[in-house]
């Protein structure tokens, strides 16, 4: 009896709520929006969309290429007018450590809760391991079991009232305008943590992530198919951080770039990693504060307009 009841509720939840809630037609950007910024916190903190007209910053903390691909695919489905996608391309983006967020771990639930609804069978297979967090999200999003149903209540109310706000999606990003200047607080400790977290596995180089490389190619392919200009962007990082990036990752990025350019000649690459040198522009070794973000975005605007790559921007 209980099982039947739960099954009934799950079917209703899946068909009448989830399928309607997480449908691409809910994300219709204004016709003027022609530039989308996508990536992780390095872009989230550095790109101020108020400076470049008709652009949105959709970067989310720790978002890797795997999740970016599915997010972009979802957004582009009903927004064919987007002309340019700017994707973060720092030295850390192809590191094996980026796989951690699609592997069973303490943190994986946080990422699954954010992106699981976007994944297709191939994407789910990529992360499918014997993992409780995976099973939990599979039950929630694919079987419709109303686990943590309350998290959808905001969206459901909006949908019923006909004023759906896609920016409330858990995967939706935004510019994070941090007003604090925290650089001096335990800088060395932060630098160590950031360098180790990005590039090392214990004392050895973490290596290359085949999954991230594959999904970067998939993003390039998606953009190419939709006649979208893809710009790979290395955002400014602190000079001390840059000096500690292992040469292995610099070579890896260059090799990948050569490969991509060969396959998709229209791809552009802007390297601003050493644009800002003054401490006062940084929040931490890998992220800009709001001052740094404004300067960097203005610089990017100039570059984009010089290269006439995105129409009215």
């Amino acid at each position: 009896m209980g099982v039947l009841l739960l099954a009934g509720i799950s079917v209703i939840n899946k068909k009448l709520i989830l399928d309607k809630l997480y449908a691409p037609q809910n994300v219709v950007l204004s016709r003027e929006t022609n530039l989308i910024i996508i990536g992780d916190s390095s872009l989230e903190y550095s790109y101020n969309p108020a400076i470049i007209k008709n652009s949105i910053n959709n970067a989310r903390p720790a978002e890797n290429y795997f999740y970016s691909y599915y997010k972009l695919k979802f957004i582009l489905e009903k927004n064919k007018h987007v002309k340019t996608v700017v994707l973060g391309y720092g030295y850390h983006n192809l590191s094996k450590n980026r796989d951690a967020d699609i592997m069973p771990s303490k943190m994986s639930l946080q990422f699954y809760n954010r992106y699981f609804m976007l994944l297709d069978a191939t994407g789910r297979k990529e992360i499918q391991k014997l993992d409780m967090n995976y099973l939990f999200c599979y039950a929630k999003f694919c079987l419709g079991i109303p686990l943590e149903f309350y998290k959808n209540m905001d969206l459901i109310v909006d949908l019923l009232l006909g004023k759906f706000d896609h920016t409330k999606y858990p995967f939706w990003g935004d510019f994070s305008k941090d007003k604090k200047l925290r650089l001096n607080v335990a800088f060395e400790k932060m630098l160590d943590a950031e360098v180790v977290g990005s590039f090392y596995n214990g004392n050895t180089i973490a290596g290359k992530s085949p999954v991230m490389s594959a999904y970067l190619v998939k993003i390039a392919e998606l953009c190419s198919r939709n006649n979208i200009q893809l710009i790979l962007l290395a955002t400014p990082v602190h000079k001390d951080y840059l000096s500690r990036v292992p040469p292995y990752y610099m070579e890896l990025n260059s090799e990948m770039l050569v490969f991509l350019k060969k396959r998709y000649p229209d791809i552009r690459y802007y390297d601003y990693s050493s644009l800002l040198t003054d401490d006062s522009f940084f929040l931490d070794p890998g992220h800009l504060n709001h001052r740094g973000a404004d300067i960097f975005t203005a610089e990017l605007k100039l570059k984009i307009s010089q290269e006439h790559c995105c129409g009215r921007s």
């Binding site: 009841l5 509720i9 639930l109 939990f136 686990l147 943590e148 149903f149 309350y150």
Partner: protein, 477 residues
């Protein structure tokens, strides 16, 4: 293995089913193995500490009981107490004392380097050490016989439902291990219902409130005013639901297996004074402290129950309660505040009686209830804050007027309303539970009503539970 983990949801039914399939005289062995497994899932090698504690307490009690000379009895008794308190001190308090001493020496310009350890605090050590000490004292005093069966005694120490965060059982529990109860369907249902209610309190109420409290408390100066006040009020319910949720699961799980654990809570926020509060909150710890710390001091030859002695005993006892919760000055301070408040209550009995005669009893009770609740909220800040400066930041945040638009509160509007609704549900359920024979009355209801209640509870957990696993707060003490 935490109660709110998937592994426990698999572990417990397996243990319960196998348990009733085993002949009664061997059940202790199975439960002991399950309890040790439960403990080893947390940290394999720390089981040695628990086994060592068990063996020392077991041996000392038997030797203490056997010896006829009082001095020898005392030596064995002290061996057990010192060994177990010593372990507790090394793992829980050593760093606190060495860091405090280091700070003291530094402040008076004495150069020295006091070592610190980086041990992980053994799970439940504060709880099982108190169990062992009460056993040792009871045997020494002669109020209980020393347990001859090592396995039964080991299970008394390691009984898994009460291992992580209590309740702190006393020596009388050993009798239950000797006489395991047969399978009883209604008792099992009752236990499962209580477990579900515990999960509801933890995942639906406590963890939801924790997210709000954490959001506000991480930057109290930025979200000053109303949000900090709301977070502080929520904190009281968060701590309560977290801990009482744990206890409900523990008591429910024990009930399924046929054991009765002591009640640890009795609607604490209905308390009309601080002393009343401690008769309703973490009752097994309060009673333990009363019997083994407060009473021996208060009625000692030195004080003979005089008011000064009682006040001294109160402050010592509650300072210990504070320190028991954690090796931090904030805990000690929060504990001392409790002692002082109870002492203040004793000293102001006469003027309060005068006030009582002026206003009606209901109004008086209402203000007492409110005053006690706000006082406890105030002291919870020191329990939750990592240090004094953070606690003071929060207190400052309360008294500074801040932004008041929902969007700027740092609290999600839906979460806020759900939380308030849940607190109302909690209080209503507790009110019903507090009635005489509440459980019997519930089971007399028609099946449709009972099943509706079960489904509502389970659906509530599924739909409104926060499934980002948060540790039970008291498992860290």
């Amino acid at each position: 293995m935490a109660f709110n983990s998937v592994s426990f949801l698999l572990f417990f039914p397996i243990v319960a089913i196998l348990y009733f399939g085993i002949p009664r005289k061997y059940r202790w062995a199975f439960l002991l193995a399950a309890s040790y497994y439960f403990y080893m899932c947390w940290k394999l090698d720390y089981i040695i500490i628990m086994i060592a504690s068990t063996l020392v307490a077991y041996g000392s009690a038997i030797l203490s009981e056997k010896s006829t000379r009082k001095a020898v009895k005392k030596i064995f008794f002290l061996t057990s107490v010192i060994f177990n308190l010593g372990l507790l001190f090394v793992f829980k308090y050593f760093n606190f004392f060495s860091e405090s001493l280091q700070a003291l020496f530094n402040s008076i310009n004495i150069v020295c380097d006091i070592p610190t350890f980086s041990f992980l605090l053994p799970l439940g050590i504060s709880f099982y050490t108190f169990k062992i000490i009460s056993y040792s004292v009871d045997v020494y005093r002669g109020t209980h016989r020393a347990e001859k069966h090592l396995g039964v005694f080991a299970l008394y120490v390691a009984f898994f439902p009460a291992l992580g965060a209590g309740p702190i059982e006393r020596t009388g529990f050993i009798k239950q291990i000797h006489n395991p109860a047969p399978f009883d369907c209604q008792r099992v249902t009752n236990g499962l219902l209580l477990m579900a209610w515990g999960f509801f309190k933890k995942t639906v109420i406590a963890d939801r409130l924790l997210a709000i409290v954490n959001d506000v408390y991480k930057s109290p100066s930025e979200l000053a005013g109303l949000p900090v006040v709301i977070a502080t009020l929520f904190l009281a319910f968060q701590i309560y639901c977290d801990f009482s949720g744990y206890c409900d699961i523990a008591i429910g799980a024990s009930r399924v297996l046929g054991y009765r654990l002591s009640n640890n809570f009795n609607r604490p926020f209905a308390a009309k004074s601080v002393s009343d509060f401690w008769n309703r909150w973490h009752i097994t710890l309060s009673m333990w402290i009363r019997d083994y710390v407060f009473m021996p001091i208060a009625i000692s030859k030195k004080f003979k129950g005089k008011i000064g002695g009682v006040i001294f005993a109160l402050i010592v006892s509650f300072s210990l309660v504070g320190l028991w919760h954690g090796a931090k000055w904030t805990f000690l301070f929060a504990g001392m505040l409790q002692g002082l408040a109870i002492a203040g209550g004793m000293l102001t009995k006469t003027p309060r009686k005068k006030i009582q005669s002026i206003i009606t009893q209901r109004v008086y009770n209402f203000f007492c209830l409110l005053g006690t609740f706000f006082f406890m909220c105030f002291t919870f800040i020191f329990v939750f804050a990592p240090d004094f400066s953070a606690a003071i930041d929060i207190l400052n945040g309360i008294f500074v007027s801040g932004k008041h638009k929902w969007i700027e509160l740092g609290i999600n509007k839906n979460d806020f309303f759900i939380s308030v609704m849940l607190i109302v549900v909690l209080e209503v359920v507790q009110y019903l539970q507090a009635g005489k024979d509440a459980s019997a009355r519930f089971f007399k209801q028609p099946a449709a009503v009972r099943w509706a209640a079960y489904y509502l509870l389970l659906l509530g957990i599924i739909m409104f539970g926060v499934f980002t696993p948060n540790k039970f707060m008291y498992m860290q003490f």
